[in-house]
């Protein structure tokens, strides 16, 4: 059973007098445990696809089955509940709340769980998620006291805290340097390998796309290629990138 099943998905919206066809009929199945990267130039419709996959937007036409449930026509509040329980988001800009500690940031999705979760429970889950990202010692730091990589790891912890089946990452490395980007990719790979979490990642960088097990290219609102990929192993890659730098530093 696929986690995601798109059937002839279309999305158009009006921009003044013109109708923009952002998606012109995309069909796609993503199985549990896949690490799918979606690439495409800007304006290709990959962001629109991402928003629909993330239940932030509804298709104009076609069907979207998430874990076998048709979510194409749910109300805003029903979609909110699905985002809360089944999807974890990782954004390019991290989107952490400023002047709010890491652990409080991780707790945010739990605030909107129904039925309401006791504060102690929330704190426990949030700390566990931070720990899995190796950030338990930074739990009470504010985002401004954390490095970019640490901030993105807090964001990943937040995405994981409700134990979703799907993680959607929208250019998660766009604001990070190469080394940190590779670290983040390694984390995502490990999530897939150890916890069998399905990951869908949007990027316009081919070398980031190469970390996925399947690469989908989007152009002009349609899927132009969809092929399996032998993922770049991020673990070794770090060493590769690090070695010359360490040598340059005389280590």
């Amino acid at each position: 059973m696929p986690v995601i099943s798109l059937q002839n998905l279309k999305k158009s919206y009006k921009l003044g007098d013109n109708t923009v066809h952002a998606l012109r009929g995309a069909s796609l199945d993503i199985e549990a445990g896949e690490f799918v990267t979606i690439t495409g130039p800007s304006g290709s419709g990959k962001s629109t696809l991402m928003h629909i996959l993330g239940c932030l937007d509804r298709p104009t036409d076609g069907k979207y089955l998430l874990n076998d449930r048709d979510v194409s026509n749910l109300s805003r509040d029903e979609l909110a509940a699905i985002r809360n329980k089944q999807i974890g988001f990782v954004f390019q800009g991290f989107n952490l709340l400023p002047r709010t500690t890491a652990v409080e940031n991780v707790e945010v999705p739990l605030l909107y769980s129904r039925p309401a979760m006791p504060a102690i429970e929330r704190r426990k889950l949030a700390l566990a998620a931070l720990k899995s990202m190796g950030l338990e010692e930074r739990a009470h730091h504010h985002p401004s006291q954390l490095s970019g990589g640490q901030q993105q790891r807090v964001a990943i912890a937040r995405a994981l805290v409700n134990q979703p089946s799907l993680i959607l990452a929208d250019e998660p490395t766009g604001n990070l340097d190469t080394k940190t980007s590779i670290e983040v990719m390694r984390i995502l790979q490990e999530l897939r390998e150890r916890r069998a979490i399905t990951i869908v990642l949007i990027t316009h960088e081919p070398d980031i796309a190469a970390y996925g097990t399947r690469i989908i290219s989007v152009r002009d609102g349609a899927i132009v290629s969809d092929k399996p990929n032998d993922p770049t192993p991020a673990l070794e890659h770090v060493a590769e990138v690090e070695a010359p730098r360490m040598a340059a530093n005389g280590i």
């Binding site: 985002r83 989107n95 002047r99 945010v108 605030l111 309401a116 937040r158």
Partner: protein, 516 residues
């Protein structure tokens, strides 16, 4: 259900991030609530003052006067003549002068002038030192004669302190105060020639319990020991003190001369209420109060002009008045069917009769039984109308201030929604429903305005306290009105928070996340 505590905490965190803006919005709200609290306090104070006035006007006061005013009475209908003040002897002498404070040099007076003065009154009579209309007030024996003359239309004074003691034993009687009253002149050392013509009241220590409209800015009233000890002590009305010592001077401990005798001032009497301002010529504040025993001792009097009684409840007044009448008739051995040598009147009757010409006063006295209700009702009615006007004004100010405070809250929240658009988008992305977002903003608005409300209540308490203390306005803050003010603030916060909250809740998460 929404985890309210957590949401409150979130709201608080959000507000504390913008301390300056939050502080200003709270201030705006506090001004509104402060104005509300103050106006309610002043309104309630004014109502209390009116109740005091009514009590002071004598719903429960009975006055027994020596002499009989009621023997002859005609019934007159509605043509009550506009009241005028007791004629002042000086005004009779110098009708157009308005002169009150006079320098008097007896040595320089020629008999001719006194003759002329006597002539001005339309009475040709032999001028004698004691008949000098000024000087006789300074002379104990002459004052005694005057006192007797005033004690009951020329009849001998008939009331005694023993009568007062007997009245005290009637059930339902609260306070009994004996009185001897006179027009007298007072002066201070070194200013013998600048005498102040005023009312002298010989009285007892309980009088302030009856005159509920009094306050003592300085000192106190006569105490029972001073009354029993016939001490030469005096409480000054505000007007007398102002003229003898100057305004805003504490007269306590100073010496005032009455009948050429030194009296030590123990207290200053002012008015509690804005509705009753001390005025020259009034009977309460243009007056001096000395122990009745001292007066009787110095003037060698054994009788009283009147006895003032209060009943414990207003409803008993008529019954107690009747019992007093019966008691005194018995004590004075007056046969059934014979006119009494005293008059029992409620304060209301007293007030109505005051300032009328004698024949009219008799007539009114006969009619007064039916008139007191009318007059008290009229008095309270007009006071309440004035009070309502003032309250309406204050309430208007408070409403406008609250409105401004509410707009301030709304302004801050709209700003906040714009500044925190990305945060709203993020919350929505991770599962916040629109209602969750709306509730959070409404809670922020309510927190702001409740904080403003609390500060406002505090400010209002301080403001009405100061108004009461420094401007002598009556203010009455109840805990109920404080609670109500905070509730009103919360409701206003809710109302003015709804629009920004709706704006936040209707944001599109995708757009919101892209917002810079």
């Amino acid at each position: 259900m929404i985890p309210l505590r957590q949401f409150l905490q979130l709201a608080l965190q959000a507000l504390l991030r913008n301390r300056m803006q939050t502080g200003l919005a709270v201030l705006g709200m506090a001004v509104g609530v402060g104005a509300l609290v103050t106006s309610v306090a002043l309104g309630r104070g004014a109502q209390d003052a009116i109740a005091d006035q009514l009590r002071a006007a004598g719903a429960n006061v009975i006055v027994v006067t020596a002499g009989n005013y009621m023997a002859a009475h005609k019934v007159i209908k509605d043509d009550i003549v506009e009241g005028r003040a007791d004629p002042n002897p000086l005004d009779l002498l110098f009708p157009n002068s308005g002169l009150r404070k006079v320098s008097w040099h007896p040595a320089s007076l020629s008999g001719g002038l006194l003759q002329a003065v006597g002539g001005a009154q339309g009475r040709l009579q032999k001028v004698h030192f004691e008949d000098d209309p000024f000087a006789k007030h300074d002379h104990p024996t002459a004052a005694q004669r005057l006192g007797d003359a005033m004690a009951g239309l020329g009849s001998a004074a008939t009331l005694t302190r023993e009568d007062a003691a007997a009245i005290r034993k009637i059930p339902g009687v609260q306070y009994v105060v004996s009185g001897v009253h006179n027009n007298s002149r007072v002066f201070i050392a070194g200013h013998r020639d600048e005498k102040w013509f005023t009312r002298m009241h010989g009285t007892e220590a309980d009088l302030p319990e009856i005159r509920t409209g009094w306050v003592f800015p300085h000192g106190r009233f006569l105490n029972p020991n001073e009354v029993e000890g016939k001490e030469q002590v005096m409480a000054l009305g505000q007007i007398v003190s102002d003229h003898l010592f100057g305004p805003k001077v504490n007269p306590v401990g100073k010496i005032v001369f009455l009948w050429n005798q030194p009296f030590k001032v123990v207290g200053l009497i002012g008015s509690r209420s804005w509705a009753q301002q001390p005025a020259v010529g009034d009977d309460e504040f243009d007056a001096v109060y000395v122990p009745v025993t001292t007066v009787n001792h110095l003037l060698d009097l054994s009788k009283l002009n009147n006895i003032t009684i209060t009943t414990k409840s207003v409803g008993q007044t008529t019954q107690v008045a009747k019992e007093i009448g019966d008691l005194l008739r018995k004590r004075h051995k007056i046969a059934d069917g014979m006119p009494a040598d005293f008059t029992v009147k409620t304060q209301a009757e007293q007030v109505i009769g005051k300032g009328l010409s004698p024949e009219l006063a008799y007539a009114v006295g006969g009619n007064a039984k039916s008139m007191d209700q009318l007059t008290i009702a009229k008095l309270s009615g007009s006071l309440e109308r004035a009070n309502r006007t003032m309250l309406g004004l204050l309430a208007g100010v408070a409403t406008v201030s609250l409105l401004v405070g509410g707009i301030g809250v709304m302004n801050l929240l709209l700003l906040s929604v714009t500044q925190r658009t990305r945060e709203v988008g993020l919350r929505m992305a991770v599962g916040a429903r629109r209602s969750d977002v709306a509730v959070q903003f409404v809670l922020e608005a309510m927190l702001l305005s409740v904080a403003g409300g609390l500060v406002g209540v505090l400010a209002g308490v301080l403001a009405s306290g100061s108004l009461e203390r420094f401007f002598k306005w009556s203010a009455d803050i109840s805990s109920m009105s404080a609670v109500m003010a905070v509730v009103v603030a919360a409701v206003i916060g809710m109302v003015f928070g709804v629009y920004p909250a709706r704006r936040a809740a209707q944001l599109d998460p995708i757009e919101a996340l892209r917002h810079e």
